[in-house]
């Protein structure tokens, strides 16, 4: 008989365990030279630039590891040393060259006045709009990742009355497959885990909304530690009580995300640990998740 080794106990297939295995695989892949550092463009469009801040909050891997071991970040408005035309030229060099790169975009694309409501820079005396940059790079990149609610479907930037006419990335890159990471902001693990998968195994498995299944498959409500209170009908009357927050406006029952088990900022807490879930990782945030909190709901 061939060396049919011992039948292993099943590996854990929780989202956390899968992501953890990915991180380990990236490390060993890079060390063995199996994986080479790809270029990453982190483009900030019409938004709050909160996703890059969230990326800095990553623990394992952290930002230092990401930029020294995983990818070469060639452009990031918030972090890069170069500025002005020298900075913006990097985008054009990539768009006009043959080099492979991954494009991560946070923020929505402002369409109003042909994109003039959001400029990313200035080149040869001409303004470079976010719209132009997104199209130019989006068509060229080997993979495109929409980072955060605004990039995915407009998010808060597109909240009514949406005066800047902001839209999600897909609207301007309609033929392009885009990996979508909704969330406001995106958890560093969601982005870095997706990036790790891209680097090592190619495209991660996506659901019908193009979200990686490893992070966005479980309904928050199903894994909520307060779920027993929901089932028993014990609802908090005010914020800050330890019972189910459904009657105060919790959007956990319509939000698919692994917050309850992953937790935030080094896995110490999560929104429901403080207040209600406002459905920031669900499409339609914020307008279709509003109102966030109310005290007038009928308590049957």
């Amino acid at each position: 008989m061939k060396k049919l080794d011992i039948v292993l106990p099943p590996e854990s297939v929780t989202n956390e365990a899968i992501a953890q295995r990915l991180y380990q695989a990236v490390t060993s892949g890079l060390e063995s030279g199996h994986v080479k550092r790809k270029k990453l463009v982190w483009l900030e469009l019409n938004g709050c630039s909160g996703n890059i801040i969230s990326l800095l909050n990553g623990f394992q891997p952290d930002f230092e590891y990401a930029i020294t071991q995983m990818v070469d970040i060639v452009y990031s408005n918030s972090m890069m040393v170069e500025d002005g035309e020298k900075a913006i030229n990097r985008l054009f060099e990539l768009a006009e060259g043959d080099e492979d790169f991954i494009l991560g975009i946070e923020g929505a694309v402002a369409l109003k006045n042909e994109g003039m409501y959001h400029l990313v820079g200035n080149r040869n005396g001409q303004p470079v709009t976010g719209l132009q940059a997104a199209k130019m790079l989006g068509e060229k990149a080997s993979s495109v990742i929409a980072i955060g609610a605004c990039a995915v479907d407009g998010g808060p930037s597109a909240a009514r009355p949406n005066l800047s006419q902001s839209v999600g990335l897909q609207t301007v890159l309609d033929n392009r497959e885009i990996i979508k990471l909704p969330g406001c902001p995106v958890h560093p693990d969601w982005f870095l885990g997706t990036l790790a998968h891209l680097l090592l195994y190619g495209q991660p498995e996506l659901d019908q909304q193009q979200r990686p299944k490893m992070f966005y498959s479980d309904l928050l409500h199903d894994r909520c530690p307060r779920r027993p209170y929901f089932d028993k009908g014990v609802f908090s009357e005010t914020l800050g009580e330890p019972y189910c927050l459904f009657k105060l406006g919790c959007r956990g029952p319509v939000t698919r995300i692994d917050c309850p088990t992953r937790q935030w900022n080094g896995h110490v807490n999560w929104p429901i640990g403080a207040s209600t879930c406002i459905g920031c990782a669900q499409s339609g945030f914020p307008d279709r998740m509003a109102p966030f909190i109310s005290y007038n709901t009928t308590r049957e």
Binding site: D207, Q208, H221, D222, T238, V254, S283, P291
Partner: protein, 287 residues
């Protein structure tokens, strides 16, 4: 019962799936694939266990019914097992339904059955259908009759359904942990002396037999789910109660508000998913 045939076929499908997975485990040299298969095997056995227990529960229910023929009304016998309201249970108590005692597989059997090689992932959902997924994960088993029942039939059968002050709509194992009406663990109760933890038992249903209840559009607009009014929505002429529906927090659902006729919205977002309606509590007819 029709249920038994479907369950039987589910069980045989699960068996053949298990055999298939065992073959894979022995034939593949790829440790990754083997682990996937092993995981799937675990899921399948859990599923099988669930089905067997389900059968047992069914049998017990049948026995009970023989003993007390009026205990369960026909609607629940044939519809789904999620709302087996048992008469004689004190109203103030949280009714431990049959389903709540059932073990819950991670996914609904249908999903597993249709896509046995999907690891742990829920079925693909179209845009906006999170509620659908939500429901489906909590209805472990649904008879085919339930799936194709029209709202009208439900409505008539619902006429017998006395409105329960509290129903566990989405049973889960956690309900099993404690079946008493009072949550036993409330360390912080003293912190909120002014908060009444007791369940309020007032039924906000309008007086009268729900079977005869009709709503004009104007009347419907009062049922906003706010300030003591229940949350009602109308679809295809039937008015449903969504007050305690998990997907209707603050009586809103993806920007839609209770108190409205949402026939068009339902059709555009949940086309072909009439079984969602089967899970709602009908309370009357829109005229």
């Amino acid at each position: 019962m029709a249920n038994h045939y479907t369950i039987d076929s589910e069980i045989s499908a699960a068996f053949s799936e298990i055999q298939y997975l065992i073959q894979i485990i022995y034939s593949t040299g790829n440790p990754y694939a083997r682990n996937l298969a092993l995981n799937q095997l675990c899921n399948q056995t859990t599923h099988l266990k669930f089905l067997v227990q389900f059968l047992q529960t069914e049998r017990n229910t049948a026995l009970q019914q023989q003993a007390k023929p009026n205990a369960t009304h026909p609607f629940q016998q044939t519809q789904t097992h999620t709302i087996p309201v048992q008469a004689g249970v004190e109203k103030n108590q949280i009714v431990p339904t049959q389903a709540s005692r059932l073990p819950q597989p991670k996914n609904s059997p249908q999903q597993l059955y249709q896509s046995p090689r999907l690891l742990d992932q829920p079925a693909e959902a179209p845009y906006h259908s999170t509620e659908v997924l939500y429901q489906s994960t909590h209805i472990p088993y649904q008879s085919s009759r339930g799936l194709y029942q029209t709202p009208q039939t439900q409505f008539s059968s619902a006429s017998n359904q006395s409105r329960q002050p509290y129903q566990i709509q989405e049973p889960s194992q956690s309900a099993q942990i404690n079946q008493s009406a009072q949550p036993p663990f409330q360390p912080s109760r003293l912190l909120y002396p002014d908060v009444q933890r007791q369940r309020q038992i007032q039924s906000p249903t309008p007086a009268g037999n729900p079977n005869g209840q009709t709503f004009t559009r104007e009347q419907l607009t009062q049922f906003t789910g706010m300030n003591g009014m229940p949350a009602y929505v109308a679809v295809n002429g039937v008015v449903y109660d969504v007050t305690n529906n998990a997907a209707w927090s603050l009586a809103t659902h993806f920007g839609l508000k209770a108190g409205n006729d949402l026939t068009g919205e339902f059709a555009s977002c949940h086309a072909g998913q009439n079984w969602i309606l089967a899970q709602l509590k009908p309370v009357g007819r829109l005229v």
